[in-house]
Amino acid sequence: MIRRLREKKSLQGNLLISPTMIFMVGMLVIPLLLTAVVSFGRRAPDGDVIFTFSLDNYARLSGLRTNCEDGSRLCFDPIYAQILWRSISLAFNTTVLVILLAYPLAYFIARAPAKRRNTYLFLVLVPMWTNFVIRVYAWLMILRTQGVLNNFLGSLAGLLNLHFTPLEMIYTPGAVLVGMVYEFLPFMILPIYTSIEKIDNSLFEAAADLGANPIRTLRRITLPLSMPGMVAGTILVFVPVMGTFIVSDLLGGRQVILVGNLIQNQFLIARDPTFGSAASLVLMVLTLIVTFIYTRKFGFGEEIVSA
């Protein structure tokens, strides 16, 4: 037995991978298949699932309805389409903003003297080690109508003898955007840093020797060569933003409902797991399509490991 194990390389490989496979199949593949099965089911009056094959949940998500107020046989109710669209555009805006903020910082760290880089990176990570929920709470404190920012602005206005009405910042799409950017910024900084750090210094020297100005060097050298980092960072930011519900819950209130809130609501309040499962699958397919198109276009770097 042991001798056979020593000789057969493929047996060793299978043995080493099998605990992982048990977890991946049991906690990932089977749950996803079950979600699909449940999404075709119907909701029982007590909130249980009746297993059948019905496309009702998907029809409802798409907005098509058969029981219309005006009596016609088919009408369109865009509420869920709006939620999906809001989630996608928020994820897109967050990603763009995060790239704009992360890039200069990542560049600064990557081009710093080697012995200082770790300290700078460490400084990026420290805020991330506070808890995810606590970080949202911090922004709740800052953005509340009677919060830190309004108080600061108020006392500033007081000094200048100006009249000040507190700004309504909390429970707006903007508040959710700020919260999301804050939560996921480090996920962009790390991969971009990794790819800029890899760029050979002689390329910058050559560019300078040949008379390229900083903008041209950025456009022709730094940006193209740090593309893998940006791609990895985009996936690490876009995907979680699509599914997060705490940020919109605490900073957006009822004003900013995202797919994540819709799914959570179906499982915990509306008690319709079948509709929640359908929404969850649609969310998964949407993110997979986006990441697939994106990685097809730009490639999939190993930078994803660095975060």
Partner: protein, 293 residues
């Protein structure tokens, strides 16, 4: 030309981003010393060690002085229980996922086997699907499984299987494995196999070679993977939210519950303690890691 020369605009932008990263943390910690119970305004640090007056001429005894909210926190049984749960989950799931993930990294870095493509793909899934999708799936799995088992085994009352610590631990192991594997595998790719060959030539068997040569050499990678698994588990809200049950509340879940009701500086005190603890753990692990290399 100085190779580290950076444009002044880059430096300004960097400072602004650092400011953006740190201002919420500073406010969190500052407000944990707030003398206002409603925690809306910062009304100064609690400066005396005796009775202090709060809103509505409420007088509260504060033997801890500025650390009033930290003392209140240490008396809060719910917080202590949640902290205990959080650590139990994080420690158990880190140990198991580090071992399993390291084995998988070996398999992927060194062997050809039939399930290879399938395992590579499945290890990337948790990275490219939102956490909530995985959380919902696991919730459905356990709720259907437990309903079935409870019926067939005629379980009643306290014997009934339900969501709790063990379901949370299982899900944390599941989402940590891919990250541990990625980190350890990166380390294994730069591994010079001739060290192992040398050990074997000198008469060491596989087990001794692994324990005395391979493992010490990849230890920084394994520790980095474990640290990642540990912080992922500590930080996790979404998957825990869907897989936890009565009595298995973790700190993030507890804080979320609080935020929906009332906010006192106790939450800030909790945040401050949290940051401090994580910093201590990270420092200790980094020390350990740098001694290994």
């Amino acid at each position: 030309m100085n190779p580290h020369r950076r444009h002044p605009l880059v430096i300004i932008a960097t400072l602004l981003v650092y400011f953006f990263l740190y201002i919420p943390v500073i406010i969190l910690v500052l407000y944990s010393f707030n003398r206002s119970r409603t925690n809306v305004l910062f009304e100064g640090v609690i400066s005396n060690f005796g009775p202090i007056e709060m809103e509505g001429s409420n007088v509260v005894q504060s033997p801890c002085g500025p650390f009033h909210w930290f003392c209140e926190l240490s008396k809060n049984r719910d917080v202590l229980h949640a902290a205990q749960n959080t650590l139990t989950i994080a420690i158990i799931s880190t140990i198991i996922s580090t071992v399993i993930g390291t084995l998988a990294a070996f398999a992927l870095a060194r062997y050809q086997f039939r399930m290879r493509t399938f395992s590579e793909v499945s290890l990337y899934i948790p990275v490219v699907i939102p956490e909530i999708v995985m959380g919902i799936g696991i919730l459905i799995l356990f709720s259907q499984l437990f309903t079935m088992l409870n019926q067939t085994m005629n379980m009643s009352g306290d014997n009934r299987l339900s969501l709790g610590l063990s379901t949370v631990i299982l899900s944390h192991i599941a989402f940590s494995i891919p990250f541990v594997t990625l980190v350890v595998r990166a380390r294994l790719q730069g591994f010079d196999i001739s060290y192992e060959e040398a050990a074997m030539d000198l008469g060491a068997n596989e087990v001794v070679t692994f324990m005395r040569v391979t493992l010490p050499m990849i230890m920084p990678g394994v520790l980095a993977g474990a640290l990642l698994a540990f912080t992922l588990s500590l930080d996790d809200f979404v998957i825990t939210f869907f897989t936890t049950g009565p009595g298995a509340t973790t700190l993030p879940i507890y804080v979320y519950g609080l935020l929906r009701r009332i906010i006192t500086p106790q939450v800030n005190a909790l945040s401050a303690v949290w940051i401090l603890l994580v910093l201590v753990v990270v420092f200790a692990l980094q020390r350990l890691q740098s001694r290994q290399t």
